[in-house]
Amino acid sequence: MTKIGLEIHCQLTNLQSKLFCSCKANYRAFEPNENICPVCAGIPGSLPRLNQEAVKKATMIAMALNCSTPEKIAFFRKNYFYPDLPKNFQITQLNIYGDTSVGGSGTISVGDKKIRITRIQLEEDPGRLIYEGSSSKNQITLVDYNRAGTPLVEIVTEPDFETPKEVRDFLNILSDLLKNLGVADPSLEGAMRADANVSVYGGNKVEIKNIGSFHDLEKASHFEITRQESLHDRDIPIAQETRHWDDKRKITVSSRSKEEDLDYRYFLEGDIPWVKINPEIRNELKLQMPESISSKKERYVAKYQIPEQVADVLSSDKFYSDLFENAHTESNAKEVANIITTELMGLEDTREKREVSKLTSIHLRDLADSIQTGKVSRNSSKNALHEILKTGKSVSQIISELDLGNVSDESELLKIIDKIISDESEAVDQAKSNPQTINYLVGKVMQATKGKADPTLTLNLLKKQIGI
């Protein structure tokens, strides 16, 4: 039997400032070592100043994952030497002297399965190391402290996963949840990272570090399970150790460093007083918390009769569900949901595309309304959508400029229909004997009008002209 547990690190990217100073939490736009101050660079004499907003956001995560939240939280020092750590200790949280980290045990549903959360802690991200030079002899290590002090939430799970697929599903759900909460954008490079603990047949636990993406995490877990199973089959003992994912060779490699033997000498961080999180604060946070993904989904199905699968896709991505919330009216909800899930998701599937897109919720609302009132056919609406994304012009302007409006002028349509009846005499005969086949002729009309003919009117006129 396989057991996998996870340690997920997620930066609170939506915060303005770092965890202990006023440098920017969004360090990504800076030149190396520009986004630093005496505090996050660990200059002698500087002291941490706790970002209260980070505590609130982390507590929200804990509540969203159904974790217990203590009355008071504390910070500890984790002491170790590493070049990316400006103080040579990390300020983090710990539960060994009582539950004092932002979140205690909780659960999250993945399909029918419940995954147990062990704890959630708030801590500072270290700096970034960049290695340059090809051979180990002339390799140099560059240190960039821009990231140092970025608020980071660590989520630790129990070893409740049995397959890498479950891990992947969980991470997708967690990522959607964090985004929906408005605390983080996990799609930013390096914003969400995970280590995995893998064991088979109740044997020793092996920790895999240095995994770059969720995709790699799945691959690394697969590799590790296979490795451990083959050792097990040959009665070779599996060592309890830390292994690194080698991205080039796609294998896990034993880290010869003595990481397991490190003694972190945890003790209370005296520079940060305990933070009280009383029931009033918790209630206030609960009120501030956005509607959960599952509640959104239920509402979409119940209120608007949106099909379950569509509601599922729509609710799980905050970007699209926000668009939906702003665009829909009582009458057009289904149509808006339809446009988003069938068309828009293919057009705005990356950050870059979303950034250049000129689409607003007003466009969406107008477009859905236009479809429903027959101003534009569903077919032509796709062209309109492309144009909206590119130009941001109003829906009515685009319909008229691109001549996408439905052909609903009877005399104009009749001319086209008459020509088709004379061209397609065979099909006309067939339609007379089997009315079902008239759709072929409707299709021909659509072709001739580039999809703009009003479908109901076309059908009626065709029937009239053929005489059925």
Binding site: P44, R49, N79, F81, P83, N88, G270
Partner: protein
């Protein structure tokens, strides 16, 4: 002839009224330093812009512009507090070339009040020690007898005030580092309630118990300084709100009817008979002023030094871990070293006392030993706090000699760290419990000073200063022979 011996309050009055030229006063102060500091070694660096700053203040006084409350008063600063663009060495080779890129909160507050930072003072390396013998740049000397230590770790600060090289100084007190040298050099030395003065910009040694504190000629001067530097600071989350208390107001309220506990454990074995006699004398003087004195036992005091060294070593081991010589420090090329071996090599430049405490600090909180040492020490700390809180239900103040012995000779104890540690027995309690404490110059015996210590409950700093002022008024002391 300019009188360099005046108090802070006297200086401010004279400068404000234009009776004293600040430029002249600063000039004379620099001359004095030039004359005596070769012998005393109170200073590690001198502010070469002091005269210019004084000239500017004089100009502003003359033209009636607004001038801060210090009026150019020369203040010395222990070399573990950051002054922007100046060296802050902690008397260590490790920070020999460290130039602070920012001002400590106390520094920016005093700058606004037009203080002149005349120089940075000598100390035990990273504030670890009580004699300044552990300064990487050589010890300071006691101006009362230069064969003796001035106390420490803020030894340079105490020497500079007592030998008229400045009017006041800021030191830091982790286990007595302000009060001990104040006692040995016959100045006032005060450690406030934990959190009353911001530590932002004070280079940490044991951050959970240390405080910045002034060393001055008079208790009133301490109250004056406290008015300028106390209070909540957004940059130090451990600071407490003092509602802008005026510590000078009503300082002469006296101590009539106040109950004072004499801490039994601090006048027991090992106390010098002269110190004991001085303590008794101080008690009878306080009684003469209407106080009611009675013995009180704090049993945990006998474990306090052990707990103190365990806790401070743990915190030091962490606070000093950043001195890996990668960003500041001395010239040691990194090529050819693996990271950890480089750190070992780089850290060889810590002095013996720092090394000793860092080794202890790596051991006592470690996984296998924390229960036996660090956690036990924390237990002593909390029990001691409970005990002293109990005592303050009955007493307004507590009294004990600041140091159980007289200033010892330079080199006398340097090879016996444990006996040195025990000198801290009377001062560490205030740090472990966060209480305010003050040392008042009380007597000179055989040419060596003895200080008396008073303690008060948390946030009762004003009462403490009133009592200290009352006791101070009963004392007349000879002048320092230098």
């Amino acid at each position: 002839m300019m009188n360099l011996k005046i108090s802070a309050l006297e200086f401010v009055e004279e400068a404000k009224n234009g009776n004293v030229s600040v430029e002249e006063f600063i000039g004379k102060t620099l001359e004095r330093i030039n004359d005596v500091d070769d012998k005393l070694h109170a200073f590690l660096s001198i502010n070469d812009k002091a005269i210019d700053q004084a000239r500017d203040i004089d100009k502003r006084i003359k033209s009636g512009e607004k001038v801060g409350a210090c009026f150019g008063m020369p203040i010395s600063i222990k070399d573990n507090m950051c002054i922007k663009d100046s060296k802050t060495t902690c008397a260590s080779k490790m920070l020999e070339n460290f130039v602070a890129p920012y001002d400590a909160t106390v520094i920016s507050k005093l700058k606004k009040q037009d203080a002149i930072f005349i120089g940075k003072t000598n100390m035990d390396e990273f504030a670890m020690g009580l004699s300044t013998e552990f300064s990487a740049f050589g010890p300071s000397k006691n101006p009362w007898n230069i064969e003796h230590v001035p106390g420490g770790s803020s030894g340079g600060s105490a020497v500079s005030v007592s030998s008229y090289e400045c009017i006041a100084s800021l030191g830091s007190d982790t286990g007595g580092s302000v009060r001990n040298p104040a006692s040995f050099c016959s100045t006032v030395g005060y450690k406030p309630t934990y959190g009353l003065i911001s530590r932002y910009g004070l280079i940490s040694y044991a951050n959970s118990i240390e405080q910045i504190g002034p060393l001055t000629r008079t208790v009133k001067d301490t109250a004056f300084m406290l008015n300028l530097i106390a209070g909540i600071d957004p940059n130090d989350s451990t600071t407490v709100n003092n509602n802008n208390e005026d510590y000078l107001a009503n300082i002469d309220s006296g101590i009539e009817g106040k109950k004072i506990g004499i801490i039994t454990e601090m006048i027991g074995d090992g106390i010098d008979p002269e110190v004991m006699a001085a303590t008794k004398e101080a008690i009878s003087k306080l009684e003469g002023l209407g106080a009611i004195c009675e013995e009180v036992s704090l049993e945990m005091v006998k474990y306090s030094v052990a707990a103190y060294y365990t806790i401070t070593a743990t915190e030091a081991g962490s606070n000093l871990a950043r001195y890996d010589n990668l960003r500041y420090g001395y010239d040691l090329p990194v090529e050819g070293y693996e990271f950890n071996s480089y750190i070992s090599k780089a850290r060889k430049n810590f002095g013996p006392e720092v090394t000793r405490r860092m080794i202890i600090g790596g051991f006592v909180p470690s996984a296998g030993h924390a229960g036996k040492y660090f956690l036990k020490a924390m237990k002593v700390k909390s029990k001691l706090t409970k005990e002293i809180n109990e005592a303050f239900k009955k007493f307004d103040l507590l009294i004990a000699p600041t140091v159980p012995i007289l200033p010892f000779k330079i080199g006398e104890k340097i090879d016996d760290p444990v006996s040195l540690f025990l000198v801290d027995i009377n001062t560490v309690t205030a740090n472990l419990t966060g209480k305010p404490a003050i040392s008042i110059p009380f007597k000179i015996v055989n040419g060596l000073p003895i200080g008396i210590q008073l303690l008060a409950n948390s946030m009762n700093d004003k009462l403490l200063l009133q009592a200290a002022h009352a006791l101070e008024q009963t004392v007349t002391l000879p002048e320092v022979p230098i």
